[in-house]
């Protein structure tokens, strides 16, 4: 803080640090009489013009914090030695006090700024969570699991698991250079580009090439994304894959580990990169694991890296829960906070398709109900019965029962308009780890799902109809809800883990 911000007997006159008067005031560190001072100084001239006669410098740590400027005494007498002594004492108290106050204010501002940034990061993290796949497809005979753990609030890793209409799973895992907010932004761009490409082609090399083309323009020139892409045929276990510089995924089968190698440049560097496609098979019982380098490059107590061999070893010994095993092991091994974003996607082929279709997709119940008041009660009891028999957890059965009752009520009332001729169809299918319940109606009328979210306060205020809880409850109670409408009617699909 330079110059004079204190006003006593006159206006504030700034004293720039380069002005000779500033140097003089710091050197003297006592009240200075301007009337007798001879010094070439614009500040001095300005002070004299403003009627200042005596300047009391506030000096702390050899810095001029400010001045107390005094005009002539009202009595027109000169300032006495006692006066100056008093002023000096005053100045010696003021200077450190001002310094302290300035520091305190600066610290408060910095703390507020840090909190603001922390809050933004919290928001960004929530946003990023919504961009990640929320539901991994459930496929009979396969277990797919994924885990994403950024090093900071938000990260630069991506993963995606897409089920295609023609019986393939597309697995994507990517890693943006850097971490934190810049990486997260690039990640969002990359994910969009990959998804768009996967919509158009099922060749992993073409997926990467198309995504790469659009990213070269959209992301900063110094940033790039390593990415692995595999397309798996669900029925046969055949895998075609391509790699844009991502750490080598492994297939673990009966203790044997093989690395998946395919060459290609990271995404976002060169506009016309092309990607080699390699084909292999995932035998029954084998495990495909893709891990970002946050895993292999974690550093341990003696500075050594976790390494790929150890990744393969750990997942190979725990094919039923490879991700948990790997995370536990890395966390035990690593010293210090997590250095880089960690993303792991694991695909385990538990059984062949032939076995799957018999054991894992079985219709347990198929009902047709007349659309009348109260029809949901009986349907609910029957669904709960088969759910218990299929081994569903009691609390889940209760939730599913309520959700089915609500869905059937909606179908009868809103879908079919309580027309006794119109039928509500209910089916229950066992998908091994979960049940699929469908409720169908002929699709007329407004469905409760189209209505606003129920809000208790609004209802108590009288702003909302006291009813309207049905669809809300279904979505809260069931693991996954999907609406399908076509010419023949409307079907509500509810998936519930056992």
């Amino acid at each position: 803080m330079q110059g004079s911000d204190l006003v006593t007997a006159g206006t504030a006159v700034p004293i720039p640090p380069t002005d000779p008067l500033a140097t003089l005031l710091v050197a003297r560190a006592e009240p200075v009489d301007l009337t007798t001072l001879e010094l070439a100084s614009p500040a001095l001239d300005a002070l004299r013009d403003a009627g200042v006669v005596l300047v009391v410098p506030l000096v702390h740590d050899d810095r001029l914090l400010g001045t107390v400027n005094l005009g002539p005494r009202k009595s027109d007498q000169d300032y006495t030695t006692d006066d100056r002594s008093l002023l000096s004492t005053l100045a010696s108290q003021l200077a450190p006090a001002i310094r302290l106050a300035t520091l305190a204010r600066r610290q408060e501002a910095e703390a507020a700024e840090r909190e603001r940034i922390a809050q933004e990061l919290r928001v960004a993290r929530v946003i990023q969570q919504t961009l990640l796949p929320t539901d991994i497809p459930e496929l009979p005979g396969w277990s797919i699991s994924a885990h994403y753990r950024p090093a900071r609030e938000v990260g630069g890793d991506i993963y995606d698991v897409i089920e295609t209409a023609d019986g393939h799973i597309v697995i994507i895992e990517g890693d943006v250079t850097d971490k934190g907010v810049p990486a997260a932004l690039v990640m969002a761009t990359c994910r969009a580009a990959l998804r768009a490409a996967a919509d158009v082609t099922s060749d992993p090399g073409h997926i990467l090439a198309r995504a790469n083309k659009s990213m070269v323009d959209d992301i900063p020139p110094t940033m790039f994304v390593t990415c692995f892409c595999a397309v798996v045929d669900v029925a046969t276990g055949r895998v075609r894959y391509a790699n844009a510089g991502h750490p080598l995924p492994v297939i673990v089968n009966n203790g044997e580990v093989s690395e998946l190698r395919a060459s290609g440049m990271p995404l976002g560097l060169l506009p016309d990169s092309s990607y080699e496609v390699v084909e292999t098979v995932l035998p029954v019982g084998s495990l495909l694991v893709v891990a970002s380098d946050g895993v292999a490059e974690a550093h341990g107590a003696s500075g050594e890296m976790y390494g790929f061999e150890r990744v393969a070893q750990v997942v190979g010994s725990a094919p039923d829960a490879p991700i948990d095993a790997l995370l536990d092991d890395v966390d035990r091994f690593a010293l210090g906070p997590q250095e880089d974003d960690i993303t792991i996607v694991a695909l385990h082929r538990r059984s062949s398709a032939a076995q799957s279709s018999v054991a894992f997709s079985q219709t347990l119940l198929s009902l047709e109900l007349a659309s009348e008041q109260g029809c949901e009660r009986d349907a609910m009891e029957r669904v709960k019965e088969v759910a218990i028999q299929a081994g569903m957890d009691t609390a889940q059965v209760a939730r599913l029962g309520t959700a089915v009752a609500e869905a059937v009520m909606n179908a009868a009332e809103h879908g079919n308009g309580f027309d006794p001729e119109a039928v509500v169809g209910v089916t229950v299918t066992d998908l091994d780890h979960s049940l699929l319940v469908t409720v169908s109606d002929r699709g007329g009328g407004v469905h409760e799902g189209d209505v606003e979210q129920p809000d208790l306060e609004a209802k108590l205020e009288g702003d909302q109809n006291p009813r309207g809880w049905g669809r809300f409850l279904i979505e809260k109670l069931v693991d996954e809800v999907v609406d399908r409408s076509d010419d023949s009617g409307h079907v509500l699909e509810m998936r519930m883990r056992k």
Binding site: T402, E406, P466, L473, K476
Partner: protein, 108 residues
């Protein structure tokens, strides 16, 4: 699949038995009017078989009436499942929930 029936006991405790659905409106309203004379009402759900979204709508309506009449409303005897429903709909913020009638009355 039984219609709702109610018993109004001492201290404004309403015992609910059967199904709480839209058709229970007159039954619940009558019980409430009777119990409200007490100044506070406790809904005891231990005899409840089934409650659906229209039943929840009824509870909301009852709550509105209670607020207008300056009568406190509490709940007890909910199963784990219906306890969860109360929580999801945030009904438990407006209608305090207790284990049993004794606890609910002690809270006055």
């Amino acid at each position: 699949m039984a219609e709702l029936s109610t018993t109004v006991g001492d201290h404004g405790v309403i015992g609910l038995t059967g199904d709480l659905t839209g058709t229970a409106e007159p039954t619940l309203a009558a019980a409430f009017d009777q119990a409200a004379a007490n100044g506070s009402v406790v809904l005891d759900f231990s005899g409840l078989d089934y409650m659906n979204s229209t039943g929840i709508g009824l509870l909301v309506t009852t709550l509105v009436r209670a607020q207008r009449a300056d009568v406190t409303l509490r709940a007890c005897g909910l199963s784990d499942h219906y306890r969860e429903i109360f929580s999801l709909t945030r009904l438990d913020e407006a209608i305090p929930v207790f284990e049993d009638a004794q606890e609910a009355l002690a809270a006055s």
